[in-house]
């Protein structure tokens, strides 16, 4: 009886879905060209997959078993993955829209995913095998519609040739300058460096390709030597397993020297490669392997060989061996994980990486891996045999260093081989020198700048071979390279010789920047909407003070700034520390000028405020003064701190929506939060009681996300401890513990709390309009919010015009912003992470202010449903006509609540008839005053909305137009439409 009722309630869509599943099964069961994909090198891919609607009007499933596909009437309880559609329209959309939209629908919660994401990707891959022609045609159409199908080569050339820079000269010479006659290096331009111009051209025109090398070699090793247990069936010590595999990878990967490069080694086998990390989120690209070359945003090339290798040899091995899945299986699919996989409240970067740190590069350059191995040996000698875990960790570290040395040796051999073939005598000399350099470093101490830069790079490649490419940062390169620069200069006598050497140093650093563009993070198409246009976010930090507190600006600082200006590329992400007590006016002016000339970089940090924000940790002054920006803007104590400063993107506005709805989240259609009061029932008598409800929801979400981060941290400890990084950071050598297990000297986890301005403005409306001035009842306001103000234009106008906004110079709004920031800080600050460190709160947003905005309804602040939040903690565009109000309010936020830094975006447009000097002076005045007033960080986009609109229409004319999103840089033309509009709609101030 029950069964009949169920069948009757099924819909026409159900019949269609059933027909489609049968069609799918028929094809895969009978066509050998498809059937072959039902297995990988390890055998048949057996799993069950189902789809249904929330109401149950449709339900279908398929079982894949030993090369057969069977269609099932119902989803069995033991299924591997299922999709739950919000309603039948969502099913229709999924069936008719381009394949990349499926992930978007998941993000928008039109579809909810349950189970192992890897199998969903495998199903997507099967669908694209079956429907490739249709999918490709749809994607091509979309690309054309969005004007993204232009000639990249011509666009690259055009953008390089048309770039003209104006430059002033330094008015004074900083005390730390030893060699540069004119610190701004105004006599040089890109045209003096044909090599760099070529590299830049390649960078701007080359489509990235997926590189399977790392994934393939590592998987080969694990299949041979076991993952959970070794060849003899004994459980692996994870550190030793990782170390052996890493060493094997470094010994066997192809040593490549890019044509004409001064730096040896690459992260991938491609000109620009996307590294695959199947132990993290690598399988996310499975479903797109066939269509990625055609997607409108940031397409990837994928060779047939790569499809074959990844599908057959790599991905099946990792279906259950990745961080997400480990938590799902070992921790019983906890609520916090389900919350993360609904996208609207948070995004846990820990599912992808435990990155965002800075190694102890000065030590590596100074004593070489050889010196570090000597230290390890000494520690091992002094450790009693009973402390096996410690000994194993030490041994693992040592093995990885042997691995990196082997790679360097292979590069040396390759350089020598190329030198032999080379006919151009200049290049021959360079290759001979490279062979010599790679023979010596990073194993031995570096002597020259060329050695130091090459050693840095080889280590940098090692970092990316061990751990996911996501925000690993380079640190204070000006400080750490200056000794080698000076040592080289000292050997030179003649003026012309010195001049030539300075030019060489600029070119060498330029090559280093361009090397940093050889790899990109894997962005499945959903990432184009979540993190559009982001590259690896390799932060470099310049200036500030030395560990002893003295002015740190030196020759290399200005050389880096020159290179930053000439190349104007998105990555590395250049950050500059400005210490108003120690650094010169001339240095700050130069930062402003580079920002003007590049339109978007460097981001400028008020050194003293950033250090003040970390006061609660009582770090020793010498260590604190050695901080560097990581990923976007976040502070890490260089060389001794695992701060995973971007462990999560946290949508604070979700807490507000849940407080407005008594724990219910509208977009997720989920009663997930605590019951904190019902507006309709009149539960809130005053503003304070509502603020408390908001605070309770925020703490609930913070509990959940910290909980998930900690579980994922455990997954990292089991699946991917990182002995290579552990060997190169201060701490593990003493503690004998891997950094994933808290071995570093300092530990913390950093969050990015998003929506501060939107929340502040909303709370101000509730406080003033509802409770104090009684302009509107809470019920009316909630109703207007729930209906996107459709029936309340007058209320919306009133809110937009008469509200007291953050960034308008209103002291009450500023106090509210400070209160919310402190609340977030305290909610996270009370949690301890799996490495024994504290959670920190940052107020920057990468690009998630756009993505989270898409996933959020209208707000009391009058922000309409789906619109982007403001970037970082930037005030609303209509907060004030005067940029000074914005600057003063942001500077008025208490750094102590913002211990993972902030991103304050300002868009300025120079007047057409203004002199270059005056524009620089004006920017300087803003930045200087902001720092004087205690602001932490500031980043300027120097571009008009008009230009941005034109770039949307004619991307072919703006291939290298650099914009700062929130913390990171991107090329405007690579952004999705929502992000482009968000940039256009930002407040624009004439200067």
């Amino acid at each position: 009886m029950q069964a009949t009722a169920q069948i009757n309630s099924k819909s026409y869509t159900n019949t269609l879905a059933n027909l489609f599943f049968k069609f799918f099964a028929l094809n895969f069961n009978n066509r050998p060209s498809l059937k072959q994909y039902l297995k990988g090198d390890d055998g048949w891919l057996n799993f069950t997959f189902g789809i249904k609607t929330e109401s149950g009007s449709m339900e279908q499933a398929m079982r894949f078993e030993n090369g057969k596909v069977m269609v099932l009437k119902n989803i069995p309880s033991q299924m591997d993955a299922q999709l739950i559609f919000a309603d039948e329209n969502a099913v229709k959309e999924a069936a008719t829209k381009p394949p990349n939209r499926l992930m978007l629908a998941l993000m928008e919660n039109r579809i909810v995913m349950h189970g192992n994401l890897g199998y969903l990707q495998l199903i997507n891959f099967y669908l694209s095998l079956l429907l490739k022609q249709i999918h490709v045609a749809k994607l091509k159409k979309e690309t054309k519609m969005e004007n993204r199908d232009y000639n990249a080569s011509a666009a690259a050339k055009n953008s390089i040739d048309s770039r003209k820079l104006r430059q002033i000269k330094a008015a004074s010479i900083d005390p730390g300058i030893r060699c540069l006659p004119e610190p701004y290096l105004s006599e040089y331009s890109l045209h003096d460096f044909p090599r760099l111009k070529d590299f830049l051209d390649i960078h701007l025109k080359t489509r990235p390709a997926i590189c399977h090398e790392r994934a393939e070699i590592l998987t080969r090793w694990y299949r041979e030597n076991g993952f959970e247990t070794d060849k003899n069936g004994q459980p692996w010590v994870a550190e030793l397993r990782q170390a052996q595999a890493f060493k094997y990878l470094m010994e066997n990967r192809k040593p490549i020297i890019r044509k004409n490069d001064l730096i040896a080694g690459t992260n991938t086998t491609k000109e620009i490669g996307v590294i695959i990390y199947p132990d993290a989120h690598g399988t996310m690209i499975w479903g797109e392997l066939l269509t990625a070359p055609y997607r409108p945003l940031n397409p990837y090339d994928v060779t047939d060989e790569t499809v074959d290798v990844l599908h057959n040899r790599v991905f099946p091995f990792w279906l259950h061996r990745n961080f997400r899945q480990w938590v799902r299986e070992k921790k019983d699919y906890p609520l916090c994980q389900k919350l993360d996989e609904r996208f609207a409240a948070c995004f846990l970067w820990k599912t992808v990486a435990l990155s965002h740190t800075i190694l102890n590069y000065p030590e590596i350059l100074k004593i070489g891996t050889k010196g570090i191995i000597v230290k390890i040996d000494r520690e091992m000698g002094e450790t009693p045999g009973s402390e096996k875990q410690k000994l194993d960790s030490f041994l693992a570290m040592k093995i990885t260093l042997e691995g990196i040395n082997a790679y360097a040796k292979n590069l040396s051999v390759e350089a020598a081989r190329l030198a032999k073939q080379e006919t151009d005598p200049c290049r021959k000399d360079e290759l001979i020198r490279l062979a010599d350099i790679c023979r010596r470093v990073p194993e031995n101490p570096c002597v020259t700048l060329d050695e130091a830069v090459n050693a840095m790079w080889i280590i940098w490649v090692g970092v990316h071979m061990e751990n996911t490419n996501a925000g690993f940062s380079l640190g204070r390169l000006d400080q750490w390279l200056q000794p080698y620069f000076l040592a080289d200069m000292e050997k030179l006598a003649g003026e012309e010789e010195k001049r030539q050497y300075i030019k060489h140093a600029i070119e060498l650093i330029g090559c280093f920047y361009m090397r940093c563009t050889d790899h990109l993070p894997l962005i499945p198409d959903i990432g184009n909407y979540l993190f559009g246009g982001s590259s690896s976010d390799q932060a470099i930090t310049l200036g500030g003070v030395t560990p002893d507190g003295e002015d740190a600006v030196n020759d290399m600082t200005y050389i880096f700034l020159k290179v930053t200006e000439m190349l104007s590329i998105r990555d590395p992400n250049v950050n500059a520390r400005y210490n108003k007590g120690k650094n010169s006016e001339s240095y700050l002016k130069r930062l402003c000028e580079v920002n003007l000339n590049t339109t978007a970089t460097p981001s400028i940090h008020n050194d003293e405020a950033v250090m003040a924000s970390l006061a609660e940790f009582n770090y020793p002054a010498q260590h604190l003064r050695d901080w560097s920006a990581t990923g976007c803007v976040e502070p890490t104590l260089s060389g001794r701190h695992i701060g995973h400063t971007n462990c999560m993107m946290f949508n604070m506005v979700a807490a507000l929506e849940m407080a407005l709805n008594n724990g219910w989240h509208p977009l997720m259609r989920w009663n997930v939060g605590p019951k904190t009061g019902d507006i309709e029932a009149g539960d809130f008598q005053d503003y304070e009681s509502f603020f408390n409800a908001f605070a309770a929801q925020l703490c609930f979400l913070a509990d959940q996300t910290c909980g998930y981060n900690n579980l994922l941290g455990e997954a990292h400890q089991v699946l991917r401890p990182t002995p290579f990084i552990s060997a190169l950071i201060e701490g593990p050598m003493k503690s004998g513990r891997d950094v994933t297990k808290g071995g570093a000297l300092y530990n913390s986890s950093g969050t990015a709390c998003i929506g501060l301005a939107d929340i502040t403005d909303s709370l101000m409306i509730i406080k003033k309009f509802v409770f104090e001035e009684k302009k509107v009842s809470f019920q009316e306001l909630r109703k207007a919010v729930n209906t996107n103000f459709k029936n309340d234009p007058a209320l919306l106008a009133l809110i937009k015009n008469k509200a007291q906004l953050f960034g308008s110079g209103d002291p009450e709004a500023l106090a509210t912003a400070n209160r919310v920031a402190k609340l977030a800080h305290d909610c996270f600050g009370e949690h301890t992470n799996y490495r024994g460190g504290k959670y920190t709160a940052g107020f920057w947003s990468m690009s998630n202010h756009v993505a989270f905005g898409t996933l959020t309804g209208a707000l009391p602040s009058g922000r309409l449903a789906g619109k982007a939040f403001t970037p970082g903690l930037t005030p609303e565009p209509h907060a004030s006509k005067s940029i000074l109000d914005n600057i003063r309010d942001v500077a008025g936020l208490d750094p102590k609540s913002m211990n993972n830094n902030i991103a304050f975006n300002v868009k300025v447009v120079p007047a057409a008839n203004e002199t270059h000097q005056r524009i620089v002076d004006n920017i300087y005045s803003y930045v200087k005053t902001y720092c004087d007033l205690g602001g932490m960080q500031m980043q300027l986009n120097v571009v008009s909305s008009k230009t941005l609109r034109d770039a949307m229409e004619h991307p072919e004319n703006y291939q290298n137009l650099l914009v700062r999103i929130s913390g990171y840089n991107a090329y405007f033309v690579t952004l999705n439409r929502d992000m482009q509009m968000e940039l256009i709609e930002r407040a624009e101030f004439g200067i």
């Binding site: 106008a797 009133l798 006509k881 004006n922």
Partner: protein, 307 residues
């Protein structure tokens, strides 16, 4: 003491003197130039404005107006003959389309608005500019404001049309000013009276006298010449201005390109100015005209500088 209405205190101005400045716009002017860039600043008395672009037509204002002075069919919306300036409509307007023109402010009120921006003045070498309208119309008030600014060590600049009582100016304002931007519009006295409402004798005389004094005291004094199509930008006028400046030993002047944005502002206060309709007055000043004027001045030995 006569208290002015203040139209606006504009922060972050980069065009009204050196560095980053706050500009205090007064309401009320002794002249009434037909091209006035801030037509709402002409009258010293209270006014009401309506911005059609902001109006969402919710109708709330029509309900509260006791005089029934508001009408959608009126192109200025407000019937200013009926309006008693009770401002009930302004207070009820959610969108800000209806607004008061100018606000009575004390010196202290103005200082409270300005002081938060002082750090920006300091890093940029900026300060405060008094503009309008005509600040010299309120000598005592302006004098107190300037003294207050100087007490806070803030750089002061006056933009003036030059029509004021010289003795009072010298006594009450001049000592507290760091710089003066002085408009020189038309030399021909008849034309000046026609377009600006008053003869220019006093203005030119004032300029000559201040020039001599400012030179001695090392204060900045710039003549500024607004270029208005067919009124000030004629060859004859430029030559005459050059000659006048030479005669008082001034060798620099700045030219202000014409901009027609005042038309909209004039609509907002319900003024139907006949000059709005002239074709030359509706477009932005073009570069050739600016260049031509510059050349005339140059040939006469006056160099153009950006003020």
């Amino acid at each position: 003491m006569k208290i002015p209405f203040i139209l606006e205190i504009k922060g972050n101005s980069l065009d009204d003197g050196p560095g980053i400045r706050s500009v205090v716009f007064y309401k009320g002017c002794p002249l009434s130039c037909v091209w006035c860039h801030n037509p709402e600043s002409k009258k010293a008395v209270a006014e009401i404005s309506f911005d059609a672009k902001l109006c969402i037509d919710c109708g709330v204002c029509r309900e509260v107006c006791p005089e029934k002075a508001l009408d959608r069919n009126n192109c200025f919306y407000i019937d200013r003959r009926k309006c008693t300036l009770c401002y009930l409509c302004v207070d009820s307007c959610p969108s800000g389309a209806l607004d008061r023109v100018g606000k009575a402010m004390t010196v202290n009120d103005i200082m409270q608005k300005i002081l938060p921006d002082k750090p920006f003045f300091e890093t940029s070498g900026g300060g405060v500019t008094l503009s309008g309208g005509e600040p010299t119309l309120f000598m005592e008030f302006t004098s107190r404001l300037l003294q207050s600014l100087k007490q806070h060590n803030i750089h002061t600049l006056l933009e003036t049309c030059g029509y004021f009582d010289m003795d009072m100016f010298m006594d009450m304002l001049y000592p507290h000013l760091d710089a003066i931007y002085f408009d020189i519009k038309i030399i021909d006295s008849v034309a000046h009276k026609k377009y600006c409402g008053r003869s220019n004798d006093k203005i030119l005389d004032n300029f000559s006298r201040i020039t001599r004094k400012a030179k001695k005291d090392n204060k900045v004094l710039f003549p500024r010449i607004p270029l208005v199509p067919d009124m000030t930008d004629t060859e004859a006028n430029m030559k005459a201005i050059a000659m006048f400046l030479k005669s008082v030993d001034v060798t620099e002047a700045s030219l202000l390109a014409y901009n027609p944005l005042w038309h909209e502002k004039s609509d907002k206060i319900g003024v139907d100015d006949p000059y709005k309709k002239s074709k030359a007055m509706t477009s932005f000043g073009d570069k050739p005209v600016l260049e031509k004027c510059k050349t005339i001045l140059m040939e006469a030995g006056i160099s153009e500088i950006n003020s």
